[in-house]
Structures are given as structure tokens and as C-alpha cells.
């Protein structure tokens, strides 16, 4: 077999960001007429690699090669000039424009005078060539997610892309649209294009991929070809084996059910984002919901906390049904919520620590800041929050200290809150802060509270939780019975492989 140069290749690519090595001497290549999937969790480094491959980032070390020649990409435009295009997860389209107008927008050498008819013909030609049913005259704002993705793909093809990088292409699609996408992909591949899927949804991509490369912690951990793909092994590679397999938990005394979620359904824009979610959390236990980001975590948290109203099903807190009571009503029933977005949601960034402490309390006509102030001083002392003072705007605090304020408010202050919902509590924090947070959660559990921990960090879930659920595409696809956790099963569930 002669060696044909890869359509696009990364050799020994390293990329560093402050505090983290996103790509660590990574090598990856894709051939003509091939679908090569980059598999991994969030933070594994696959998005970074894809960004380097299309010219969005520049590697600190290593090199890029295209068809045998070395490539230096200074910008995505340069990437495009070399026939490399990335289709992002969040589409960049102008809603008001027609499909044709969106597709041609990026083309540099458009004629000065545009003929709508001619452009529509050109776009239709490209779309038909790859079996993409598209009406060039449709208004993009009125299209479904799958159709918009098609527009983005046609846009890339129209601009002459031979290598297409698709970032989490199935994330926003309903299953029937996923099928349509794969039909398109097969047509593109048949025409000699190279497709790179960046995904964590192994179950969906395993059939379409010619090769699958797994990344974890910035490194490539393994690579398999079609036919060799052992789902179990891939899940292991994705999730890693550093976690103690033999994790046994001391049996805890758990009390009554304090949080009950039954038959939750949530629909948004006609798409079902949560489907038949059921679970209970008892006093003195931590139930962890694991899963890769973007599978409905925020939706579950917000429905349970009362911020979102479910399309069906109900939430019960401490025996009181809270569905439809709103955030305040749910809080009064005894629930406290620590959102994953610290500074944009949990705290008001320009307001002081004191002002933020009263955010989730019942305030009355005049806001009592005196109590809040003495509370603030106490927490600053007890939790060792590093801040010039209680009147400092929270946006000036470091991530860890802001999180401490948030936890002080929702955990320590709210002694009446028997139920705690915590989302990604240690994201972006340093080791010391992570430990402090975990300690607080442990203490809360020991006090007999019921804690729902939603985290994309599997290790954190496995460390803290007594029971582990896995969330995939808005469904609970794994519910471990209690004491022993089958890490492999969890990993498979996270990738969408359900027995």
C-alpha cells in the first residue's frame, strides 16, 4: 500500500492555556474520503485540537500538514483558503437572511451585483450534489436545528472546503435529524471529502466513523479503526482508569426522601430536552448526576429549583409539591440551589458580598443589610474567603472565593434548606478550593441534608456521591443501586451506550 499523504494532519501539537495544557504532543490525521471521530469528554482537548486544525488557534509546538505539505494557519480565513472549514456547535447564521444569502455571505469574490436567482441556483447545485435537501429561498430563522446545520455545512462546501470539522454535530439534533446528517456525511465522504467529528456521543458516531481517536486530559489515549471498535474499551479510554475501580462506600444511614422527581419532561422550541426523569434523594445522601456537558444538566437543575416549569411531571421538596411554585416558592419549601455559573447567575457581579448574601433570602420591604453584613464578616472568617472586605463587588473575587460566597449563602446560611442542588461546584477551581468545597458538602451530608450533585467531572461525582445517575440526551440512562459502582458501565452510559 503506497503512503498517501493525509488530507490534514497534526504532528506533535501542543497548546497551552493559563493553568492547563489543552493539547499535549497530540498527533492526529484524517484521510480523503474518511470520517475520523475525535472522542472524549469535555475538557479532553478535542475542541482545542479541532480549533487548531481549522486555524482558529495557533499551536505552541508541533506542526500542521496538508496533502504532504506543511501548513501555517494564521486565522480561520486562512484555513478556509486551504479548504478547511469548521462547523461550530452554535451556528453563526443571520436569521433574517435566506439560506442562499447565508451560504454566500462568506465568499470573498462575490460579484458586486448579486443576482438572487443565480445565487440560489449555485447553492442548490452544491446542496444537491451532496444530497442535502435545502430550499435556498427559505428564511433561516424559521428552520429547525437540523436544517440550520445543513445550511452551515453547505456554507462550508460552497466555499470549497475539502476537510470539514464538525463540533458536536449531533448535540442539538433530534434522532431523526441525526440520521439525515449521516446520509449527508456519507455523500460527502463518497465525493472524497474528509470529515472530522468532534464528539462525546460514542453511541451515535460509532457506526459512521472509519476511525475513532480517543482523547483524555489533553493526550491521545487510543485509536481504533472501524471493525476494531470495542465499545467497552472506548468508553474506558474516554473515561479513564485512574479512578479507583474498587470503590466501596461505607453504608450510610439515610433518612426520608426529601427530594422527589417524577416523570419529568421538558420541551423547548419543540424539542424534548428532558425525558421521563425520575429519582429520589434522601436525607443524609448525595446523589450524583454524571454526564458530559450539554445533555440537559442545566435543565434538570433549573426544573428542580423551580426556575423552569416542566412540560410534564412534578417535583416534591420535603413533602411539598413545588412544581410551578417558582424559584422563591421552591426555596421556601426547603431547597437551595448553587448554579454552575457563579458570577453570571449565582451572584450579581457588580454588587457587594453583603448585597449578594441577601439575594435568595426573604427580604421584606426594607432590605436588612446589617444582619447580612455581620454574616458576611463571619463567613469571610470561617471559610477563609480572601477579599478586601464585605463591600467588595463579587466580580473582583477569584473563582474559588466567589464560590465560597455562593456556598456560604446557599449552604451555611440556609440552615432551613434540607435539600441542596449543586451544579459543577468545583469547575475552574484550584486544588485547595476544591477540597474546601468537598468538605462543605460532606459536612452538609452529615447534617442530614439531601444533596443533588450535578457535575461534568466524573471523578468528583464518584468521590462524593453515594448513588450515581448518568444523564444522556435528557434521560437518566444509568442508576447505580448504591454501594458498588461499575465505572465501566457509567462510562458507557455517558457515551450513550446503553444495554
Amino acid at each position: 500500500m503506497g503512503v498517501t499523504a493525509a488530507a490534514l494532519e497534526a504532528r506533535g501539537v501542543t497548546k497551552r492555556f493559563p493553568g492547563v495544557v489543552a493539547n499535549d504532543h497530540v498527533s492526529f490525521d484524517v484521510r480523503r474520503g474518511e470520517v475520523h471521530t475525535l472522542l472524549g469528554e469535555n475538557g479532553a482537548g478535542k475542541s482545542t485540537l479541532a480549533s487548531i486544525l481549522c486555524g482558529l488557534y495557533r499551536p505552541d509546538e508541533g506542526s500542521l500538514w496538508r496533502n504532504g505539505g506543511e501548513l501555517r494557519l494564521s486565522s480561520p480565513r486562512a484555513g478556509l483558503a486551504n479548504g478547511i472549514a469548521m462547523v461550530h456547535q452554535h451556528f453563526r447564521l443571520v436569521d433574517r437572511f435566506t439560506v442562499a444569502e447565508n451560504v454566500v455571505l462568506g465568499r470573498r469574490n462575490l460579484p458586486f451585483v448579486l443576482s438572487a436567482a443565480r445565487l440560489e441556483d449555485e447553492v442548490r447545485a452544491v446542496a444537491d450534489q451532496f444530497g442535502l435537501p435545502l430550499d435556498p429561498r427559505a428564511i433561516v430563522g424559521e428552520l429547525s436545528a437540523g436544517e440550520r446545520q445543513r445550511v452551515e455545512i453547505v456554507k462550508a462546501l460552497y466555499q470549497g472546503a475539502d476537510v470539514l470539522l464538525l463540533d458536536e454535530p449531533t448535540a442539538l439534533l433530534a434522532p431523526p435529524e441525526v440520521e439525515k446528517l449521516f446520509v449527508t456525511v456519507r455523500a460527502m465522504v463518497a465525493a472524497g471529502k474528509s470529515i472530522v467529528f468532534v464528539s462525546h456521543k460514542l453511541a451515535e458516531v460509532v457506526d459512521i466513523s472509519d476511525r475513532i481517536t480517543v482523547m483524555r486530559g489533553g493526550k491521545v489515549t487510543g485509536s481504533v479503526a472501524r471493525g476494531e471498535a470495542d465499545a467497552r474499551r472506548l468508553a474506558e479510554l474516554m473515561v479513564g482508569r485512574e479512578i479507583h475501580l474498587d470503590r466501596r462506600r461505607a453504608r450510610r444511614d439515610v433518612g426520608d426522601v426529601l427530594l422527589s422527581v417524577s416523570q419529568l419532561h421538558l420541551e423547548r422550541d419543540g424539542v424534548e430536552v428532558l425525558h421521563d426523569v425520575n429519582f429520589d434523594v434522601r436525607a443524609g445522601e448525595i446523589v450524583g448526576i454524571a454526564g458530559v456537558a450539554g445533555n440537559g444538566q442545566r435543565d434538570i437543575a433549573e426544573v428542580v429549583a423551580g426556575i423552569l416549569v416542566p412540560s410534564d411531571g412534578g417535583v416534591t421538596v420535603c413533602g411539598h409539591p413545588t412544581t410551578g411554585s417558582g424559584a422563591r416558592g421552591t426555596r421556601r419549601a426547603g431547597l437551595s440551589y448553587v448554579p454552575e455559573d457563579r458570577l453570571g447567575t449565582g451572584l450579581a457581579p457588580s454588587l457587594s458580598i453583603v448585597d449578594n448574601l441577601v439575594l435568595t433570602r426573604d427580604r421584606g420591604f426594607i432590605v436588612d443589610r446589617d444582619t447580612a453584613r455581620s454574616d458576611a464578616l463571619r463567613y469571610i472568617d470561617e471559610l477563609e474567603i480572601k477579599t478586601p472586605g464585605p463591600d467588595t463587588p463579587t466580580r473582583k473575587l477569584s473563582g474559588g472565593n466567589a464560590q465560597k460566597v455562593l456556598l456560604a449563602r446557599e449552604l451555611v446560611a440556609m440552615s432551613g434548606a434540607r435539600v441542596l442542588v449543586v451544579s459543577s461546584p468545583t469547575r475552574g477551581l484550584d486544588v485547595g478550593a476544591v477540597e474546601a468545597v468537598h468538605e462543605l458538602l460532606d459536612t452538609a451530608r452529615a447534617e442530614g441534608r439531601a444533596i443533588l450533585l450535578i457535575s461534568e467531572d466524573l471523578e468528583e461525582v464518584l468521590t462524593l456521591a453515594d448513588r450515581v445517575l448518568v444523564l444522556y440526551r435528557g434521560r437518566i440512562v444509568h442508576d447505580s443501586p448504591g454501594v458498588d459502582d461499575d465505572v465501566e458501565a457509567i462510562g458507557r452510559a455517558m457515551a450513550g451506550l446503553v444495554a
Binding site: I307, A327, D341, T345, A348
Partner: protein, 370 residues
């Protein structure tokens, strides 16, 4: 823009020095005066003398101060109205129309019901009627915004014109309730004497244009300041203005907050109009239309950076410019009153530009082209 391989970049400041908060407006005023001086010189006037006259007639002479304070009274109200809305990113441009409606509402109360009320209730009733009328006038744009997402900028603006024509109609175009029945000369019907307040004389025997409504306006500013600082409503608006997603998380009702802020804003402007009835006018007076107090209120609020107490200061400042300017026009070396307006505009433009220096720092950065 890259010049000689270097680019000027704005870098967000980590710490905002307190002194900048004062320096920027002061520098803006100084630079505006310089710009004004340029225009004065170009048209053959002596700037220093003109400014000295301006200072005297606007601020330091007896009639200067009192005229200024008199003009500042409604200006404080429109300034407060604008500040209240703008700090929530709600662009109520309709203070002008709400002011007129407040005048109409206040006059109605002063004519129709003040007579049957004890004196101590009469004035507050007129003020309340003015507030209600102002709120009513902004209610439609507020509703459109809440229900349909219509921008309040154009809707409040359009209603200014409707309000202007309404006032003209009531006085010039009809012979109805608001017209003075005693004469065929088109002027408004005067309200009951019980709702009138005489001008302040400041322990002299001179007749001034300052009315006790000035104190009401100042009290209003203090009350609003207290409301925002201490009350739950003020707290919720502060949270929402800072971060709507945080407000949502905390269970605050966005629609209610936004609609109510607009209504309160309109009400405050309406109170200004009612004050005009209680003080100088005593009736619906189209003369009020000439001054453009509504738009000026927005400028006053912006310069005060939406701080209610500072609005009192900037309102007095701007009123003084107007008063001093109009006196300039009548002086021996007549300078068009417009110089005052020029200065106002220049100060605001400069303050806007200067604002950027409060939040950012200028850096000259070497650009390396790949």
C-alpha cells in the same frame, strides 16, 4: 488602526481610582468651555468676559441663582425620571410628553377637585394627579414593550409629539375645560388658589422665580435615593440592571420590574409638570413647551451617571447655563443664548468619551504582524 507598527488599545482597569469619578466630569466641563471659547472667538466675542457674565447671571447674582433654581425644579424631576429608567437600560425618551401630561393632570386636579379638599391635601393631590398622568402616558409604551417587545425608544418619542399637540389643542384648539373662561385670549384656566405656592423671597422684598416646589423636587431625589439604596424594590432593580440572569435565578419577575420602572419614571416626570402648575404657571401653559426640559433631563441624568443625588447638582448646573445664557443674549455684547446649549452638549459628549477612561486604560501596544 495600526500606525507605525503600534496600536492603541483599551485595557480594562482592575481598580478604578476614586478620583477619576470627579476628574472626568470636571475635565469635561473645562474642555467644553475651551471649545465654547473657540466658537465665541470665531464669531467675534470675548470668551472670558462672556463666561464671567455667564457665571454671574447664572450662578452668582441674586436673580441669577433664583432663576436658576426655578428652572432647575422641573429639570430635577425629568432628570430623576430619566435616571430611574436609564439605569435599568430602559430608554424612556418620553419625559417631555410625560411632563406635559403631568401639567395637564395636575391642572385638572387643581381645577376640578382641589376646591372640595382641605388645603393640606390639595397640593399633594395635584402632585399625585400629575404623577398618575405621567405614568399613564408611558403605560402604552411600557405595555408594548412587555407584551410585544417593541422598543420603547421610538414609542415614547412619538408620544412626545402627541402630547405636544394635545397641549396646543387644549389651549389653542378648543374652548374646553382647560381654557380660561374669562377671556377669549387663548390661555389656560387657573387652578384653585389653594394649590398655588408663592414664590420664595429669601428674606428680601424681591420677586423671584424660585418656588417651594424646589424643595419638593430635592426631597423627591432624596426619597428615590433612599428607595434604591434601602428598599427591596431598589435592590431588585439593582440586581436586574446588573445581571438579568441572576435576577431570574433569584426568582425575580423581569416583566414586572421593567414595566414598573417605566411607570415610575413617567410618574416622576409627571410630578415635574404638576410642580410647574403649583409654582410658576398655575394653569396649563404651552410656554413650558419651549424649553425642552424633557430631553435636557436625559442629559442631566447621564452626566450625573444616574445617581439621584448628583442629579440635583447637574440639574442646577445646566439650569444655570441656560439662565446665564439667556442673560448673555440681552447683554451689551449680545452672545446668542445658544452658547449655553452648545456647552451642555459639549459637556455631555466629552463626559461620554471620558467615561471610557474611567473603566479602561490606554496602552500603546506593539503589533507584530505574522
Amino acid at each position: 488602526m495600526i500606525v507605525a507598527g503600534r496600536r492603541i488599545q483599551l485595557e480594562a482597569r482592575l481598580v478604578t481610582p476614586k478620583w477619576l469619578a470627579f476628574v472626568v466630569p470636571v475635565v469635561s466641563i473645562v474642555v467644553a468651555l475651551v471649545i465654547g471659547a473657540v466658537f465665541l472667538l470665531a464669531t467675534g466675542h470675548a470668551p472670558l468676559r462672556a463666561y464671567a457674565d455667564l457665571l454671574d447671571n447664572g450662578y452668582t447674582s441674586f436673580y441669577g441663582i433664583t432663576d436658576t433654581l426655578g428652572l432647575a425644579t422641573p429639570l430635577i424631576c425629568t432628570g430623576l425620571a430619566a435616571a430611574f429608567a436609564f439605569r435599568m437600560n430602559l430608554y424612556n425618551i418620553g419625559e417631555e410628553g410625560q411632563l406635559y401630561l403631568g401639567m395637564i393632570g395636575g391642572a385638572w386636579a387643581g381645577i376640578a377637585i382641589a376646591g372640595s379638599l382641605p388645603k393640606v391635601l390639595a397640593i399633594p393631590t395635584v402632585l399625585l394627579a400629575g404623577a398618575a398622568a405621567g405614568a399613564l402616558w408611558v403605560a402604552v409604551p411600557a405595555f408594548l414593550r412587555a407584551r410585544l417587545g417593541t422598543s420603547e425608544i421610538v414609542s415614547t418619542l412619538l408620544l412626545n409629539y402627541v402630547a405636544l399637540n394635545l397641549v396646543n389643542y387644549l389651549i389653542f384648539g378648543s374652548r374646553g375645560f382647560f381654557r380660561d373662561p374669562t377671556t377669549s385670549f387663548p390661555q389656560g384656566r387657573t387652578v384653585e388658589p389653594s394649590v398655588r405656592l408663592g414664590a420664595l423671597s429669601f428674606f428680601t422684598d424681591k420677586r423671584t422665580n424660585t418656588y417651594p416646589t424646589l424643595f419638593i423636587a430635592a426631597l423627591l431625589a432624596v426619597a428615590l435615593y433612599w428607595l434604591i439604596k434601602r428598599s427591596n424594590y431598589g435592590y431588585e432593580t439593582a440586581v436586574f440592571a446588573d445581571s438579568p440572569s441572576t435576577a431570574r435565578y433569584a426568582g425575580m419577575n423581569a416583566m414586572w420590574l421593567q414595566s414598573s420602572v417605566l411607570l415610575v419614571s413617567g410618574a416622576i416626570a409627571g410630578v415635574g409638570g404638576a410642580m410647574y402648575v403649583i409654582g410658576p404657571a398655575g394653569k396649563v401653559d404651552p410656554g413650558l413647551l419651549q424649553i425642552g426640559l424633557g430631553y435636557a433631563g436625559i442629559v442631566v441624568a447621564a452626566l450625573a451617571r444616574y445617581n439621584f443625588l448628583a442629579v440635583i447638582l447637574t440639574a442646577v448646573l445646566f439650569a444655570g447655563l441656560r439662565v446665564g445664557g439667556s442673560a448673555l443674549q440681552a447683554s451689551s455684547d449680545p452672545v446668542p443664548i445658544a452658547i449655553a446649549v452648545v456647552l451642555q452638549g459639549a459637556v455631555l459628549l466629552l463626559a461620554l468619551g471620558g467615561e471610557i477612561f474611567r473603566r479602561n486604560r490606554l496602552r500603546v501596544v506593539k503589533v507584530v504582524t505574522a
